[in-house]
């Protein structure tokens, strides 16, 4: 396993483009997080301090940071599709196989890399949130801090699921740009199917079915936190209530998709003549 990870890391880290993209995908959410946590003084007119809003309180901070950090996953998605696209365009995939890598090992080396980077991203977000939380949060009891750390697990699973989808699209179309276009098409397709079902049956059923679609199920892992922030401000408004927690079945669906995407990528490579 380490051998395969090591192999892929060499391919990625010696390539300037992917190195820059990896750097951005880690550093950008960080910078945004840190910038948002400091007090910004707008030329003496007013000061903006997001910390005052209570969004950096434990346990809500886990929800907020993982939600915003996951918006930056697109940068690493580019890395994932290009690491497949490059192997095809340089024909190094063929050479790797001739040199004695099996097709299974090839897919696994990509998958391990995805897991590895998702893990690092999760750890970094966990550390950053933890320290910002310690600084701003009104409550720092251990029991409150560890509450809702399930969002970290959700973030980790969400990244693995999304990058596996990218890996599959990369294997399917062999070209990075087309693979990214496919992501967009899938997004539209999910909404079209949602529309058709709610037109033919009803909205409620359509919503339930849509929760099983790949992109929607990944999105569902970490629900938007805005409503929750509002809830803390206006606790008396009952109609703001919604279910934002991370559920085991949500994680299960995404892990299911991950397994399907990795397996399909492998099948695709196995069937293909290079």
């Amino acid at each position: 396993m380490l051998r395969l990870l090591n192999l892929e890391l060499q391919k990625l880290l010696l390539n300037r483009t992917s190195k820059v993209l990896i750097f951005i995908s880690f550093v950008l959410p960080f910078t945004v997080l840190i910038l948002s946590s400091i007090k910004i003084n707008f030329f003496g007119f007013f000061t903006l301090e997001l910390g005052e809003l209570g969004i950096f309180n434990f346990p809500i901070i886990w929800h907020i940071t993982t939600f915003f950090a996951s918006q930056f996953k697109f940068f690493f998605a580019i890395v994932v599709v290009s690491m497949i696209g490059n192997e095809y365009s340089n024909k190094t995939l063929k050479q790797n196989l001739i040199d004695g890598l099996s097709k299974k090992e090839f897919i696994l080396s990509k998958f391990y890399t995805i897991v590895f980077f998702s893990l690092i991203a999760t750890l970094l977000i966990a550390l950053a949130s933890f320290f910002i939380g310690l600084y701003y949060s009104s409550y720092t009891e251990a029991a409150i801090i560890v509450r809702e750390t399930s969002f970290l697990l959700a973030y980790f699973v969400k990244l693995i699921g999304f990058f596996s989808l990218c890996l599959f699209f990369g294997m399917l179309v062999k070209r990075s740009a087309f693979a990214l276009a496919f992501l967009f098409i899938l997004y539209i397709l999910e909404w079209i199917v949602f529309g058709i079902i709610s037109w033919q049956a009803n909205m409620d059923l359509a919503g339930k079915i849509q929760n099983f679609f790949p992109l929607k199920s990944m999105y569902n892992l970490i629900d938007q936190p805005f409503q929750r922030v509002m809830m803390t401000k206006f606790p008396e408004k009952g109609d703001l209530m919604y279910d934002y927690a991370v559920h085991w079945y949500e994680i299960f669906i995404v892990l299911g998709w991950t397994a399907i995407f990795i397996f399909l990528s492998y099948r695709l490579l196995k069937k293909r003549d290079l």
């Binding site: 060499q10 340089n90 050479q95 069937k271 293909r272 290079l274």
Partner: protein, 298 residues
């Protein structure tokens, strides 16, 4: 003899096209093999199948004694297919390091093999800056990294300039002299003739011949003759059942033998018949002539 690669009834179809048709042959240790065939005769497809990049339609093949998986067996094989494929953004040394990681070879081999192909001074230059000849030499270095039991080369001199071709041939010869088994696919016949002891001839995916180069067609060779009494000579040759086809080009007569006969006997015979030859050469068909004869038969 110890078999390295055994192919049995291998078939590959691309849709309606049959690229390889019921092909069987064995590669034994220590010989230098050539796979001959015109473009599109299934050479590269056959190599692709045994190298795990093309899926077979039917039949089977086994590496060594057949106890290891294909991808593990390939770790003991060195192969270059058509064009050298490396990561353009990595240096030569980094590319070879990657191959070492795949094959599980010690990094110390990198410099040693770069030395063999004369690229040691360029080892820290990016692959994308290399000329085609250098790329091809790097590919050979990469194929040699694991001191392979068999080296597979598919059109190794394709697209190279004369110096490049010469360098590659020189390297191949040196490797062959060290006793490494080589399988060379090419449509350049003089290339195969110079280095190979055995050939497999393919045409449209069908095997026409496999065996030693010098036994490729059951021919007894031919005489090239010149004589001042050309008419007499021709008349005699046509009446003698030992000779088959007779060709005349200007004053040069080429007479193909049906039965074995050496030049001394023939010369004596001519002298007895009162014909004095001004030119007598006994030759065997060159690989090119043999190859054309074989492939034209069908």
């Amino acid at each position: 003899m110890e078999p390295i690669l055994t192919i049995n009834n291998l078939t590959k179809k691309f849709g309606f096209l049959t690229a390889v048709n019921d092909l069987s042959f064995t590669i034994n240790k220590g010989n230098v093999y050539g796979i001959l065939g015109p473009n599109g005769s299934g050479k590269s497809t056959t190599l692709g199948i045994v190298l795990n990049v093309v899926n077979k339609t039917s039949g089977n093949f086994k590496w060594f004694n057949g106890t290891v998986d294909t991808h593990d067996a390939l770790k003991k094989v060195g192969a270059i297919i058509e064009r050298p494929n490396f990561y353009p953004y990595m240096t030569a040394a980094q590319n070879l390091k990657l191959v070492c990681k795949i094959k599980g070879v010690d990094y110390a081999k990198i410099d040693e093999k770069l030395e063999v192909v004369n690229l040691l001074d360029r080892k820290d230059h990016k692959f994308s800056t290399y000329s085609l000849g250098m790329k091809q030499r790097l590919a050979i270095a990469s194929a040699l990294l694991n001191d392979p039991e068999i080296l597979i080369l598919d059109e190794p001199t394709n697209g190279l300039d004369p110096q490049g071709i010469h360098q590659i041939r020189q390297i191949i010869k040196e490797i062959a002299n060290q006793g490494t088994t080589i399988l060379l696919a090419s449509h350049l016949l003089d290339e195969v003739e110079k280095v190979c002891s055995h050939v497999v001839v393919l045409r449209k995916g069908v095997k026409l011949y496999s065996g030693r180069v010098d036994e490729m067609i059951s021919s007894h060779g031919f005489f090239e003759l010149k004589c001042d009494k050309q008419e007499h000579l021709l008349e005699y040759l046509k009446s003698n059942p030992d000779f088959g086809t007779i060709k005349v080009e200007n004053d040069l007569i080429t007479a193909f033998l049906n039965e074995p006969m050496d030049a001394v006997t023939f010369n004596k015979l001519m002298f007895e018949k009162g014909m004095v030859l001004s030119h007598l050469v006994k030759r065997k068909e060159s690989l090119e002539e043999q190859f054309l004869q074989l492939t034209d038969k069908l």
